[in-house]
Symmetry: C2
Subunit: 344 residues, 2 copies
């Protein structure tokens, strides 16, 4: 039985959360393991920022238990000991659904570490089902390799994603675009899928949509853009802007598109860092926004102002977006919302 047939759907991220799940980083999985302490400090800052707004459960490897009180002084954080290979719960965690009666369930996607890039991933392939078991909500096993960061929904039937990621041969080579669409409809109860082309240049996730575009309300899209024609992101964002300006959503609406300037290019060890303001995360009553400082100060301020205008009723809580970005992700990548609803 598919979730769609039971009226379960994925709510928009801005609907009320019961709590946020975040995985504690794992040194062995890191691109720069020597940064582990700094990355832990970065995680701790973001975890505590989210906890200002809603309950947070941190998924921790048992052998990291003794570190936690050292890094996280806030008492209002809960810990769950589940072994995992890597962090980034957006991508290897469950996607929670809610039905018309307010009952929760969740989708357990297959996970292959972003197209087989990082071994091992056996524990992370099992993580979503373990979290669903813990939260005592029904688990739907989807026969699709997918990460939560590659999709966004408006809660009213529309999804945005990127071809670069979802149609990548390193994910589901045996499935056609139509078959993938069919699964997304059945597991998330969406009926209109908007395919952008590419995500951020250099994004090792193969262009996750959560670095380039997101819904800010039904019918309203925020898109990170680049005006510098020497930057690969310039043509990518123009292409996406064109698609969005021509498409209509599941409710037949033309989309209102709001743009936000990307931060200046920054590299580390000759690799482009995937800096994005769109990797922000909705929390109850607020938004956790990564900002980057230094040369990015101007665009930082523009991003803060833009989000404040779009969401006058939400507190824009900025965090240091440089703290963990060298590991490839940011606030949205590390979080996974569990919507308010009945767990039983």
């Amino acid at each position: 039985m598919y979730p769609q047939y039971l009226n379960y759907k994925m709510p928009a991220e801005w609907t009320t959360h019961a709590r946020t799940f975040i995985s504690w980083p794992v040194q062995d999985s890191m691109c720069y393991p020597e940064d582990y302490e700094n990355v832990c400090r970065g995680y701790a800052e973001i975890i505590q920022a989210v906890a200002e707004f809603e309950p947070v459960t941190v998924v921790v490897n048992p052998d990291a238990a003794d570190m936690l009180p050292h890094f996280i002084k806030n008492k209002n954080i809960e810990y769950l000991f589940i072994e995992h290979n890597d962090a980034w719960l957006r991508d290897n965690g469950p996607t929670f659904l809610v039905n018309d009666e307010g009952d929760l369930s969740g989708v357990n996607w297959h996970f292959n570490a972003w197209g087989g890039k990082y071994t091992p991933w056996d524990l992370d392939e099992e993580l979503a089902s373990k979290i669903l078991e813990h939260t005592r909500v029904r688990c739907f096993d989807a026969p699709l390799v997918m990460e939560g960061g590659s999709i966004h929904v408006d809660g009213e039937g529309t999804m945005i994603t990127t071809e670069e990621c979802l149609l990548n041969r390193n994910r589901n080579p045996e499935l056609s675009k139509e078959q993938i669409e069919d699964y997304l409809r059945k597991y998330l109860s969406v009926n209109k899928i908007i395919w952008l082309k590419k995500g951020l240049h250099g994004d090792e996730t193969d262009g996750h949509v959560d670095n380039v575009a997101c819904f800010v309300a039904p019918g309203k899209i925020l898109l990170q853009v680049c005006d510098d024609s020497s930057d690969e992101n310039c043509s990518n964002t123009r292409e996406n802007l064109k698609i969005l300006s021509e498409v209509s959503d599941a409710q037949g609406r033309k989309l209102e598109i709001i743009t936000i300037q990307q931060p200046p290019l920054r590299t580390y060890n000759d690799r482009r860092l995937t800096l994005s303001y769109l990797n922000f995360y909705f929390v109850n009553g607020g938004i956790i926004l990564p900002i980057f400082g230094g040369e990015a100060e101007t665009t930082d301020q523009m991003a803060i102002r833009k989000l404040s205008e779009i969401f006058p009723e939400r507190r824009i809580r900025t965090v240091n977006g440089m703290a963990i970005i060298r590991e490839g992700g940011n606030v949205h990548c590390m979080t996974q919302q569990m919507p308010a609803g009945r767990e039983k």
Copy 2:
């Protein structure tokens, strides 16, 4: 503003729980610190038994973080790091309330370590409000020294307690019985308080009711009795039985009284252990029942049979009642239910 005026009341323990809170034991606070590992094992067994039925959050001192994965293998347990002096969350935790709309709140009683018996208790005096802050439910500070183990309610306006504890000069010497009753009415929305005389002989809590009597349904009381006239508990239980058989509850009902035989007397270091089957704990769909083995095998079996008859729809999950009893309490003393309801 008192909770009563806002329609908040303490639900009966058998109504559906959102989860159970349990504090991890603290070696420094123990009567027999050399038993710490055994006691931790006993706690771990009971924590995992409760987790078979519902979510469990364990409140842990930060410096005990590294022990947890060693003792608790079940993944479905959450941990919350809050410093505390001693365990027994029934007594130093909050008492959760629910209003007609299903909103949660909680009462933060004053706590003085069972009449000032064990120092220090400064952290435990603050524990209930910290847990309420964590669960984001409204906190009502009650100007009354009280432990949760000294009361039971039927959820329909009736409370039972003991004079030995609530009127003890070591708790609220400045308050009259009428003033104490008045606070109980205002903070728990009860309107009939049944005063038993004494609890178990030798109980260092000064006769907590949760070792001698409890509601099993509105209008129905379970009482642990003793037939051996050479045992101090014999006259105590007869006295309580007489009170219960003459009184009516908040709804005007005469009480149906069911009795359960106490286990045989057992001592440790010349101190009587306060063995009680009534220190069981309701969980969603079950009951966690301490049994004592050895010479108690006959009464153990009688208790299991009795509870199975009273609760045919609940699974009676027995645990080793000897594991932690030398520290003074058992399953009910260590647990605190958070009822199902809205946390926000």
